[in-house]
Amino acid sequence: MDRKQLQHQVASVRKSLFDQGYLDDQFNRLEDLQDETNPSFVEEVVTLFYSDSARFIQNIEQAMIKKPNIDFGKLDDYMHQLKGSSSSFGAKKVKNECSQFRECCSARNIEGCIKAFQQLKQEHATLRRKLETYFQLVKQAGIAGRT
């Protein structure tokens, strides 16, 4: 693909991410922060998020296994952190799943929690893939996501 086409593709992938609710405005703001001194800033942030959040996901998983003696307080804490983290780069769906989970937590709804957690993991993984593709395209196109 030639450069122009790549750029188009980048733009369209980007747009769909927003349209489908995977990302919100925070992502744009991050891209605004990006500059020549740090051209892959956004990508770095996302990478950092995924490595950090893996830890949380694992912790949550461990805590969930202990059912029925689930420590809801702890779960809530983990989710709170995850929510904060995902909001840092605009991971909208992931963030929403976290909120959902927390609601089930406060209601002590174990089943609800399990379900919410499944969905969370799914969204988490999906977004990761999509962003990886996106960043790759961006590199190929030689431009930053935003024009």
Binding site: R29, L33, Q81, G84
Partner: protein
């Protein structure tokens, strides 16, 4: 950090560019983003993933940061706790942030002293504005200092009639400050950002009583926790006020209508006050050591101490208004209370009042050593020591101790019991007649009565030295100096270490104890009045000084009488407070 008055910080002139921000957040993603954002604002950023690390950094580089931004949730320490500590120890503006925007959380943040609460995700524009908190604090600091400094003069004039204006006993609020405060408030005084809420509400008047309770609680806590490890493990040594939490203090004070935030803000001021005193003391105290507490007082800019002037108004003395401005007062040697080390002392350093030390000038040898009161710059009484709280109102009445060292009957300072730990040279020293400067040694021993009056004269208005020398015969120690500080010493020699005292003993003294050394106030203008400006509201020293004749010469006769009570009490545990907060207590002590 903020330097006093204005922005003399290392920042460059293009403020707010170069603002030194410390960001604390356990989330690495946010840390990275915030760093980038702050850099875009041209701020100097330092990031920390752990609260503990942040505290260490702040402590190591005192004055190295202008503002702290911290997340509420952190694994190793509650963000609110960090907030409190930073406010107490470093008195820096702190901004809290969280993804949780619940009103209750935000409220909690503000209650704990946050100057702002940001919701994540944070926008650039919000960060661009954080410099206002730094600026605001500076302004307030300057104001406080001015007030402190102004107290003295105001005090003198105002003393008396207006004292009880507003129906407030001037407890804790010196006239000046009241007036000023009114003025400020009318101008929409926003006081501390952290306390803005409380400020906006009805302002709490920290009466002497209240303040005494406060100090007592603080000392108590410090006492109890002296041996406790600081909660973050990092605080060691002196009990810092930081270890003493407002909540604990509040609980101990048991004042139903008082809120935690009232206490927190008062505590901050107190700290600030003490640290200023300490600085001054350090600076100034040649002879006596004022014991400084090892607590890491931040050095507040501003010469707090300078103000200290002990102005005893002569006439007013009777009403006991004395203002201790600034640092002076303190003296608490050997804090009786504090048995142990000065724990927390915040103020430990005797104010170095360069100018005048309290002094009762006792140049004449007649003055019995014991009677000499040295009043050095008021040392910031260590918390424990200072018993401002102890100063009971009753205290004032009696003794004009200007300098405080009341020694019990002859004992030069005896700091015996209490002061045993203090090497108070005072004992010997106090009395020192050899004290070159006219230190009003109020020795208990010496003629208590008439001398008291004269004492007053001694009380020069060295500024800060708090001296309450009341002309009235010093009554038993119990009352006088008892104000807190005093009492512990039964020995009563108020160990005023004053700088002026050249007692060498002082040196010992100082070293040994954190007590407060009251510098001897030189009586310069005794005749007019000993003005003891005592800032902290608690001290009521009735300075009975009525004309201080003592001025230049310290008339031992005068002193002698006094001391008796002084001794014991003379521990000035004055707390030096921000004059704005504490008005002088006008006591009838003064001997006019």
């Amino acid at each position: 950090m903020m330097e006093n008055n204005g922005f003399s910080s290392p920042r460059n002139d293009s403020f707010p560019a170069g603002l030194r921000v410390l960001v604390v957040d356990d989330d690495p993603t946010w840390l990275k983003i915030l760093e980038k954002m702050l850099k875009k604002c041209s701020y100097e950023v330092t990031t920390c993933g752990l609260a503990r690390d942040a505290l260490n950094l702040l402590r190591e580089r005192k004055g190295g940061y202008d503002i702290v931004i911290s997340d509420v949730y952190m694994p190793d320490m509650d963000g609110f706790k960090l907030l409190e500590l930073v406010g107490l120890e470093m008195d820096l503006p702190v901004i809290m942030m969280s993804v949780d925007g619940e009103t209750s959380r935000v409220m909690k943040g503000v209650q704990h002293g946050a100057c702002d609460y940001l919701l994540k995700p944070i926008r650039m524009k919000e960060l661009r504005n954080i410099w206002q908190h730094v600026f605001r604090k500076k302004i307030h600091e300057v104001r406080d200092i001015e007030i402190l400094e102004g107290n003295e003069s105001f005090q003198m004039t105002r003393n008396g009639s207006d004292q009880y204006e507003d129906g407030h006993v001037l407890c804790g609020e010196d006239l000046t400050s009241i007036n000023k405060r009114k003025h400020f408030e009318s101008k929409h005084d926003e006081k501390d950002t952290g306390d803005s809420i409380s400020t906006k509400k009805a302002r709490v008047v920290w009466s002497v009583d209240l303040h005494q309770k406060f100090v007592k609680a603080v000392n108590q806590i410090g006492f109890d926790t002296t041996s406790l490890p600081s909660f973050d493990g990092a605080m060691t040594g002196s009990v810092c006020l930081a270890e003493v939490g407002p909540k604990k203090i509040l609980d101990m004070m048991n004042v139903p209508w008082l809120t935690r935030e009232n206490v927190a803000s008062h505590l901050q001021k107190y700290r600030l006050y003490l640290s200023r005193l300490q600085k001054e003391n350090d600076f100034k105290n040649p002879a006596g050591g004022i014991k400084q507490s090892d607590s890491p007082l931040r050095d507040s800019a501003g010469s707090f101490g300078s103000q200290n002037s002990i102005n005893l108004q002569h006439n007013d003395v009777s009403n006991g208004s004395y203002i201790f401005s600034g640092s002076s007062l303190v003296v608490h040697n050997g804090d009786p209370r504090s048995h142990d080390s000065d724990r927390k002392r915040l103020v430990s350093t005797p104010v170095e009042e360069p100018k005048r030390t309290l002094t009762v000038n006792v140049p004449n040898p007649r003055i019995p050593r014991s009677s000499q009161m040295e009043f050095g710059q008021p040392l910031a009484p260590p918390q424990s020591e200072v018993d401002f709280g102890a100063l009971d109102s009753t205290f004032p009445t009696k003794y004009p101790w200007c300098g405080i060292q009341l020694k019990k009957e002859h004992n030069p300072l005896h700091l015996n019991d209490e002061f045993s730990h203090l090497p108070l040279p005072g004992q010997k020293q106090l009395t020192q007649a050899d004290y070159p400067q006219p230190a009003p040694a109020i020795s208990s021993a010496p003629s208590s009565t008439p001398s008291h009056n004269e004492y007053r004269s001694n009380v020069n208005h060295a500024r800060s030295t708090a001296i309450a020398v009341d002309s009235s015969p010093i009554q038993t120690k119990t009352d006088v100096a008892n104000h807190q500080a005093v009492e512990p010493n039964s020995k009563s020699t108020p160990s005023l270490e004053n700088q002026g005292f050249n007692m060498n003993s002082i040196t010992e003294f100082e070293s040994s104890r954190k007590n407060i050394n009251l510098g001897m106030l030189p009586f310069t203008t005794l005749e007019e009045d000993l003005q003891v400006c005592w800032v902290p509201g608690d001290c009521y020293m009735n300075l009975g000084l009525q004309n201080i004749e003592v001025l230049e010469y310290f008339d031992p006769g005068l002193i002698t009488d006094v001391p008796v009570n002084l001794n014991d009490g003379l521990r000035f545990d004055y707390e030096f407070y921000d004059p704005t907060e504490y008005s002088l207590i006008d006591q009838s002590l003064f001997i006019a």
